[in-house]
């Protein structure tokens, strides 16, 4: 099923390349599609001779993604899995995301773990926001339901070893969505584009007709939920993806402490790390997105350890020093993306 889906995209791509080749050359224009999806905003910009993708198409892609991956839709595949006693039959989106999630789970020593959902809910970051705080007994009761080793892929079936196992792919689905949209654009013959969903980005080619590189700003962690983004660093990544995970926008406040929405699957408690924001550059957005949370949860030293084991990936980290001031650091290879000193 998964393979067939790729196949369709490929055929469509070949066809559109053929049709566009038959037309006389025109000056490329900028096409922009913006909208809301997955609880946030998206923007697709592409440079082409003619309109090749419509908002309706983009929205229907999001619809199919939601039907598979959205915990906010009671009837989605993921919600059915969570409600199930044992297993569901996966579709292509679901299988792609689960497979990648399991892989990142293994290579980050369990720091990225989609089975953290029961804890996420207990801490009030689930579908329903709660005001109450869980006590240690409640957390303790949930821990046996957590751990991706309790998930098994048996062919196209995703099986749980205990009924209480529930998953949440919000930490990776946005990146995956970016990749799906990017593949769709490429299948339509678009070679120069930027796809952005909720701050996760994939770019290819250049801005036409001027042939300029596409510049991406890395946001400065803002003081509150409403601050307009300010830019700390500008990068250009060529053909690839960049995603950012931050603890600065989604948090709860309790007793003067900010509780991050990123929960440590091992302890069951919100991650209290020095890193405020982790930006990852990788060839695909699903990879970058899967790892950015793990880096945030790993702390500076742990993050660099993960990065050393994954040479295809670079990262930029903004963190709070013990004295409260904010500083940044990056992996050695990140420097080549940086466009301007700011």
């Amino acid at each position: 099923m998964k393979r067939r889906w790729h196949h369709v995209i490929l055929v469509a791509g070949v066809m559109s390349i053929l049709t566009s080749a038959l037309r006389p050359a025109r000056i490329p224009e900028t096409y922009r599609i913006t909208g809301q999806a997955q609880g946030t905003t998206y923007a697709i910009t592409y440079y082409a001779d003619q309109k090749l993708v419509s908002k309706t198409q983009a929205d229907s892609i999001f619809k199919s993604l939601d039907a598979s991956l959205s915990i906010y839709q009671p009837g989605s595949l993921i919600s059915r899995f969570n409600a199930s006693q044992e297993a569901v039959e996966m579709d292509a989106h679901f299988a792609n995301v689960i497979e990648k999630s399991m892989q990142i789970y293994r290579t980050t020593g369990g720091l990225f773990d989609i089975t953290v959902y029961p804890l996420v809910r207990a801490w009030g970051f689930g579908v329903k926001a709660t005001d109450a705080m869980p006590d240690s007994a409640a957390i303790h009761r949930l821990l046996p339901c957590v751990g991706s080793d309790k998930l098994k892929m048996e062919g196209l079936r995703l099986v749980k070893t205990a009924p209480c196992v529930q998953i949440d792919v919000n930490g990776i689905a946005q990146g995956y969505s970016v990749d799906v949209l990017a593949s769709f654009l490429e299948a339509r013959g678009i070679a120069n584009y930027m796809v952005e969903v909720g701050g996760e980005i994939r770019t290819k080619g250049r801005k036409l007709p001027g042939n300029e590189p596409m510049n991406i700003g890395i946001e400065t962690p803002s003081a509150n939920v409403f601050d307009a983004p300010a830019i700390r660093e500008v990068i250009s990544i060529g053909d690839g993806a960049v995603t950012t995970s931050g603890s600065y926008r989604k948090f709860r406040e309790s007793g003067g402490m900010r509780l991050s929405h990123i929960i440590d699957p091992k302890t069951g408690y919100p991650v209290q790390r020095e890193i405020i924001s982790a930006t990852v550059v990788a060839p695909e957005a699903i990879t970058a997105d899967g790892f950015d949370n793990a880096l945030l949860a790993a702390g500076i030293d742990g993050a660099f350890e993960i990065l050393r084991a994954h040479p295809g990936m670079e990262a930029y980290l903004i963190y709070r020093k013990p004295d409260g001031t904010v500083a940044d650091t990056a992996s050695a290879g990140f420097g080549r993306y940086v466009v301007a000193e700011r």
């Binding site: 609880g39 905003t41 701050g199 991406i216 983004p229």
Partner: protein, 406 residues
């Protein structure tokens, strides 16, 4: 009257005598602070047990801080109603001066029509009672100025019934403003509208003016003093200031039923730094009846009765220099749509704002603290109200005069 109560009153008397020569700065000195010992219930009387007085009595009934030992009202039915919410053998009075004569009473609530606030408050101060005086503070400007002097000289606790100063919602909004969530604030838009004639049923025609005192200038300032008063106080509270001048228009254009207070009034107050606050009351439309919008260059807050929403401005400053921005996901709801302001501590009961105000009054009486809603903030509110009404009456700009707050 119990023995404890007597000795407590004696102590207050001593305190007052000591205060007389001590001047203003010592008004809240600790020596005076033992009038009501923390463990004791505050012995309370209510003057005016109409709709607000009875409402307060109902809340007080549930509070361990008070014992409601006396009520006073000139309408027997209302007095009975008040007494039914009071302690077992509470005293009823038709003459408030008799109630004030009861030396066992520590504090009084005054919830009568506006024109009675000043004479009753002055008499209560003279009787050595701590006072919770309903808003708005006084009927006119000279009374407001004089009451400040009298309260300061008394050393007694004097709180004005602006309960929103005690409500978590407004505390949170003030915090948000301080944290610059709204950016530079330039305007407040306040409205307190209803779609009704704002009258209460009158069985005996002779009682018309006593019951519907809000309709007559002889007794109050109409919608501005009775409704918008809260919002003017809120703007003062949130800006930590008071208006410099005001323009206004008002009229009786809808409810032509013999009233002489406005049935619509629209004023614009000018605050320091060019901040303007429009304050409106319209009695023929109830959409979002009570609302305060705070306009900043980064976001708007809209305060309703018991909730508030933030509407961030859509700013694309950052996008100008780059083609895209990577950052923690911004919830779509924060863009253009309102986000509800969270307030209150987790697990804290969702109480009527007035309960917090009454709790704090008890706290102030016990520990001789100056209330957050005090005689000076009350004066500022009342003067602003009178300036607004005068602006509409005269169709001339009214200015805050230096002697108002000298």
């Amino acid at each position: 009257m119990t023995q404890t109560a007597t000795s407590r009153r004696d102590f207050i008397a001593t305190g007052l005598a000591a205060m007389a020569g001590a001047g203003l700065s010592a008004a809240f000195s600790p020596a005076f602070g033992k009038a009501v010992r923390p463990a004791d219930k505050i012995r309370l009387g209510i003057i005016g047990t109409g709709s607000r007085g009875a409402g307060l009595a109902t809340l007080i009934h549930e509070m361990p801080d008070y014992e409601l030992v006396a009520c006073c009202d000139i309408i027997p039915e209302n007095l009975q109603n008040g007494l039914s919410l009071a302690a077992q053998n509470a005293q009823g009075y038709a003459d408030y001066r008799k109630l004030l004569d009861d030396k066992s009473i520590d504090a009084v609530v005054i919830a009568t029509p506006l024109y009675l606030h000043y004479p009753m408050a002055v008499a209560a101060l003279q009787a050595g009672k701590h006072i919770y005086l309903e808003k708005s503070m006084t009927y006119d400007i000279p009374q407001a100025i004089d009451l400040v002097k009298k309260v300061k000289a008394s050393g007694l606790v004097f709180q004005i019934g602006y309960q929103y100063r005690y409500y978590g919602l407004y505390h949170r909004v003030k915090e948000i403003i301080k944290e610059n969530w709204l950016g530079k604030i330039t305007h407040f838009e306040c409205q307190y509208n209803r779609n009704s004639n704002w009258r209460f049923p009158v069985k005996d025609p002779k009682m018309e003016r006593a019951i519907n005192w809000r309709m007559y200038r002889e007794y109050c300032g109409g919608p501005l003093s009775e409704l918008c008063a809260h919002e003017i106080d809120v703007v003062n509270y949130l800006t930590d200031s008071r208006p410099l001048k005001v323009v206004g228009l008002g009229g009786i254009n809808y409810w032509k039923d013999g009233r002489d207070t406005y049935d619509n009034i629209r004023t614009v107050y000018d605050y320091p730094h060019g901040v303007k606050a429009s304050v409106t009351s319209v009695l023929s439309n109830a959409y979002n009846g009570y609302s305060i919008r705070i306009l900043g260059d980064k976001a708007t807050v809209e305060i309703l009765r018991d909730k508030a929403f933030i509407y961030p401005e859509i700013t694309n400053n950052a996008k100008g220099v780059v083609d895209g921005v990577t950052g923690a996901t911004i919830a779509a709801t924060t863009q253009g749509k309102g986000v509800e302001v969270k307030f209150g501590k987790p697990g804290e009961a969702d109480l009527e704002p007035t309960v917090f105000a009454l709790k704090d009054f008890a706290e102030c009486v016990r520990n001789k603290k100056e209330p957050v809603s005090n005689v000076e903030t009350g004066r500022d509110g009342s003067i602003a109200i009178h300036m607004g009404n005068a602006a509409a009456d005269t169709e001339k700009v009214q200015y805050w005069k230096p002697e108002y707050s000298a």
